[in-house]
């Protein structure tokens, strides 16, 4: 192997600094969430305890965070499933030319770049003027889709840009119907990417703040609850909450990555039956 140029070491150092910059603050509040009961928001550590984690289970200290967590979880799953289904359908649609496809594409791009607060404000106003109550499962759900669907669609574009159409032609030549081709050929091939879309759908929803601000109604989602806490909670309990939800996010990411990895393994094992005489 040829020798590494000097620039490699400089760039590697920059990369390490970047990773420290990304993770350092999060690790810091992870450590500080174990502050002793008398400890404050900054170092030094005033003893080590689980006091602030215990506080998370006390209604008076933090409000209804577990209710907010349940709502965020449910909303995240709803958004995840919808994002996967709608993105795949739209991705398939965009492979053909259909009248209005350019308009729809630019709408999706607009949906991606529009300042989130506009969605919040607009949806909030519509519900108000129609005399409907805003609720996280209706107005909040729709508002979040305007953020997750463009991501899902862009991933589907990336997937289908790399998709080898000869697989479909082979299926059609063997007499498969359009639906059978999708079901038995297209979907299994793109399955790992769909897990990526699902991960985007869930986490973007779970962490979304601006688009749910005016559209979630009287029951807060977790990010809204946490943001409320930043203005009136001045103890490390907010770090404990931050640490727990970050761990939860990491666990979710881990599950998704493990699924992709397992699918890849399975595919490598069962993908080819060449020479097996089936």
């Amino acid at each position: 192997m040829e020798q590494r140029p000097r620039s490699f070491y400089v760039l590697a150092a920059i990369f390490v600094l970047f990773v420290l910059f990304l993770y350092g603050p999060t690790v810091t509040i992870g450590i500080l969430s174990f502050q002793g009961p008398q400890g404050g928001l900054t170092f030094p550590m005033n003893g080590v305890s689980l006091h602030w984690f215990a506080d998370l289970f006390e209604q008076q200290a933090v409000g209804d965070i577990w209710g907010a967590f349940r709502r965020s979880l449910a909303l995240g799953l709803m958004v995840m499933v919808t994002t996967v289904v709608v993105s795949v359908m739209a991705g398939l649609a965009f492979r053909k030319r259909f009248a209005g496809s350019a308009v729809l594409f630019y709408l999706a791009i607009t949906s991606l770049v529009i300042p989130s607060i506009l969605i919040s404000l607009g949806v909030g106003l519509i519900f108000q003027q129609l005399g409907l109550k805003v609720h996280w499962a209706t107005s909040g759900f729709g508002s979040q889709l305007t953020w997750t669907l463009p991501f899902g669609l862009l991933i589907m574009f990336a997937v289908f840009n790399r998709f080898d159409r000869s697989y479909e032609e082979a299926a059609r030549d063997q007499g498969a119907t359009a639906w059978q081709t999708i079901q038995y050929v297209v979907l299994p091939i793109i399955a790992p990417s769909l897990i990526g879309v699902a991960l985007f759908g869930f986490t973007l929803s779970y962490d979304e703040f601006a688009r749910t601000l005016l559209t979630s109604g009287s029951y807060n989602t977790l990010p809204l609850e946490i943001f409320g806490m930043t203005t009136n909670v001045t103890t490390p309990v907010i770090y404990a909450l931050g640490t727990l939800t970050t761990l939860f996010s990491l666990a979710i990411i881990g599950v998704f990555l493990a699924t992709v990895w397992a699918l890849g393994k399975r595919r490598a094992r069962m993908g080819s039956d060449a020479g097996k005489g089936v």
Binding site: A12, F18, L22, K96, L112, L121
Partner: protein, 284 residues
Amino acid sequence: MNAHRTLFGWLQATPLALVMIAFLVAPIVMIVIVSFWGATEFSIYPAFQFDNYQFLFGSPVTYKVFLATFKYAAVTWALTLLIGFTVAYFLAFHVRSQTMQIALFLLCTIPFWTSNIIRMISWIPFLGRNGIANTALQNWGLIDEPLEWLLYSDFSVILAFVHLYTLFMVVPIFNTMMRIDRSLLEAARDNGASGAQILRHVIIPLTKPGIMIGTIFVVTLVMGDFVTVRFMSGSQSANVGRLISNDIALLQYPSAAATAVVLLATVLIIIAVLLRFVNIRKEL
């Protein structure tokens, strides 16, 4: 057969179209309509008047705040581009094994899937008056008094933006770099180009689409932000997003809507210009 296929395509696109119409187009139309309405202290009423726009364009605050928003966007863009390009370049051209590339790339992208608000909060122990940065600087004898401008200042706002959004540069730039044909680099080297020349005349031009996509993300996220500026400046700085959210808090929806219309127009013009340089669908 062809008519049948067109119909099938429409059916598949319908759910996306419905969501976009109900939760994107309708809200924008609503905001445009309400921007001409009037407001009392407690309620809003339908009207067709230009008062909100007159007030908006007549107030010096508007220009100051828009200027501040552009400033945030420009500084954040420059920093995220510099850092993002360097990181992506390292990953794409200096890391040799593909497994290592994927692992390091994931390491960079994981924070994207965690909560932005938590990531903002986590700067407090670093930047606060008695935070890690001040304590360290004092211990090293570099400063005598804690620096006050570390937290709740424009500095911390920009820092948070860079922290949150550099990823949006790294990912598209890395993606384009990975699609550069390596034989081009070899050809340049065989013809006697130095590393710097290869970077300047081969890699950077071929990476432009990725840079454009990253730019679109970073600029729009910063232009439309209101939470980061509010939280990281301790409510001391303002951008357009905060102007809107303050009006909303005071139930002055028509005035918020007028500001929103101007902000949306600004963002869309910027994006329209940027899109002339890149074909997003082809580059993914």
